[in-house]
Symmetry: C2
């Protein structure tokens, strides 16, 4: 058992939330002054806790338990989306800090300890999960030096300005790191709806996006009889209706999809749309299911093209493969939750996390705690303090079991 | 019989098309320098033809056959939409000019003649059909002096600059004007598709537009299970699909509708739409059918609201009542077409015309000739020369029969 201090954890979370505070949330995109200041604050907290801590050449804040040869790595990210929530990645990092600190305080002279990390730019101001990818050796900062943010900042210059450019890189050490735990708020409504307090992640879902482009002909919407039209807008509506029906048939119970945006050209009340565009995104933790969903889109597009009035072209714009979490490590969390009298449910993570990257390199598990109203990436994001503390207790118990 | 000169008619049409020429079309919004110049040109042609002609205080160019107590009025408009077609309203005006000219040339000493008119601003640079509305006494220029064009010009100033402000107004004379004929290109593909060369208009359709506004909740499109969403975008798609099905059931064979524009909020691939907006326009020549279509929209909206996830509000934004054409006058055109060995079809006009205004005050009929490819309000608009001449011959025959 590792005896964490729930009050200290919450107090640290609130202290971190002062950096970039916006109402009840935070605005802390990576390498903005508030993010940089918060990384220095975190570095000091790690050092105070007795960790050997550094900020590395990609901005990762990394603290190692001294004098141990093996460790469990716990972390997430402290950068936020613009005007995001105060918990999001911060929670997983400060869980790591509190558990490492509690373990060091206990004075256990074991060969194993806890290392803690806050990865840089999980949220992708420049390049999503770049911090964890550099940590795992998938890329080096030079590979992505020229990446631009939406506001026109160059990654290399932002690193330079932050004072992190050229520093040594913290790296995954296969001999040392036995596993990676990442705790996170759920960012969805399932735990709350099922009145559960702990979720164990089965897999981080794969994501595919396609832009579907319809080509018809602009006609006067008063003088052109319905059967003489090549109406790209109505074709899109029937297509989307068809795709939703097919998805309900071939998807899994966890499949989600979204028609996120639609645009009609020219977009006038009295002109039959000559063009239309639809953005579809769909997610599932199974590659097979993702393939079936993609085939459903292709079949619906084929139906449009066969009618020979409006052309329909499907352009894949993104494909992120699913990442299964380590089942044995997840079971340790499940058992810890049981021990804490908070029976967990297994569920996929519909959003991406640094665990997606780490999971390609070492046994990785994720723990979810509830999000009030399912809110996320919004200043309204929040979680009951009791759930925050319980999550840390469950993770501490899981770490203790794993290190035992 | 009135013996028109087809070659002279086409030559006049081509001369008029030089004003504001843009490729194969014309750019002649009302009261622009090219429009004003073309009105002076038309005035001279009317005077050359022997008509008593004036440009009046709203810019209408009006020519009266002298020494007759009764007349048939023939006209349309010579202003165009920006970068419009060369025929559009010009055709109906120059048909009138040619028929009046031919009748005067024939030296027929009848009590009845032909008056010709080009109404101002049918296309609504300032206020659609303002010229015919002033002519019919529905409004006076002072009522609409302050109307602004999209380019920020004030109607009163444009009239002043054109040199027309304060002039006497030409007015409908119930004792003189026995009927109004307006010829126009079809602006649609029906005559061409049915290989007919003359259309007789049953009615100018009524037009209703509604904005349909959906309110849901923005959620993470990866972490929110499908059944926990309040997805305004998907609600819109199912609603539009439902409305189209209901319209097919309750509409007439002539009913047309258009989903002209759609917008999703916030419009991101990975965010469940919190809001969505759809613009629906529908047209029919029967008030009863228009009412049924409106009820179908209300019923579809009710279905959305009953599901109690997404709110659906229907906001009417426009309602233009249908205008029936005079059946007896239309039958005269039908008989004239038969006589010219070009059997006509009866069809509604899906677009608005000055005849919509005139039809409220005197017996009014419209004649359509084919539009190549159904093109309209575009420089690609065109009609075979043989069809242009045939249309004039049919109208001349109809006028002769009507005056007989």
């Amino acid at each position: 058992m590792i005896a964490i201090n729930g009050q200290r954890l919450v107090s640290d979370l609130k202290a971190l939330a002062r950096f970039g505070r916006v109402g009840t949330g935070v605005n802390r995109p990576v390498f903005t002054p508030d993010d940089v200041a918060s990384r220095h604050w975190l570095l000091e907290r790690m050092q105070d806790a007795g960790l050997d801590a550094v900020i590395d050449g990609i901005g990762n804040v990394y603290g190692r338990t001294p004098k141990v040869s093996r460790s469990v790595l716990i972390g997430s990210h402290t950068d936020s989306v613009p005007n995001g929530g105060w918990l999001d990645g911060a929670l997983g990092v400060l869980y790591g800090l509190e558990i490492a600190r509690a373990l060091i305080e206990a004075g256990d002279a074991s060969e194993s300890g806890v290392d803690v990390i806050s990865f840089a730019d999980e949220e992708g101001r420049f390049l999503g999960t770049v911090g964890s990818r550099v940590f795992c050796g998938e890329v080096v900062p030079a590979d992505c030096a020229g990446v631009l943010s939406a506001d026109g900042t160059i990654l290399a210059e932002a690193l330079e300005q932050a004072g992190f450019a050229g520093r040594p890189l913290a790296r995954l050490e296969p001999a040392r790191h036995q596993g990676y735990f990442e705790a996170h708020i759920e960012q969805g409504p399932r735990l709350e709806a099922e009145t559960k307090r702990i979720g164990v992640v089965t897999a981080i879902v794969g994501i595919r996006r396609a832009r579907v482009v319809f080509g018809g002909q602009a006609d006067h919407a008063g003088t052109t009889p319905m059967d003489m039209r090549r109406d790209a807008g109505s074709a899109l509506i029937e297509f989307a209706h068809d795709v939703a029906a097919r998805f309900r048939n071939v998807g899994s119970t966890d499949t989600v999809w979204n028609f996120g945006s639609i645009a009609f050209e020219p977009g006038a009340a009295n002109v039959v749309p000559s063009g239309a565009e639809l953005m579809i995104e769909f997610r599932d933790s199974s590659l097979g299911v993702l393939d079936r969903l993609e085939q459903a889109i292709a079949a619906a597009a084929e139906t449009v093209n066969e009618a020979d009035k409006v052309s329909c072209r499907v352009e894949p714009v993104m494909a992120l493969e699913p990442t299964a979490m380590d089942e044995a490590l997840g079971t340790v969390i499940e058992e810890a939750a049981e021990m804490c009298q908070a029976p967990a449910i297994w569920m996929p993570s519909g959003a991406g996390h640094d665990a997606m990257v780490l999971g390609r390199h070492l046994p990785t598990a994720m723990l979810f705690i509830p999000s009030i109203g399912g809110r996320s990436h919004d200043i309204a994001e929040d979680t009951d303090e009791a759930d925050i503390v319980l999550g840390a207790e469950v993770l501490a118990e899981a770490v203790a079991r794993f290190l035992a």
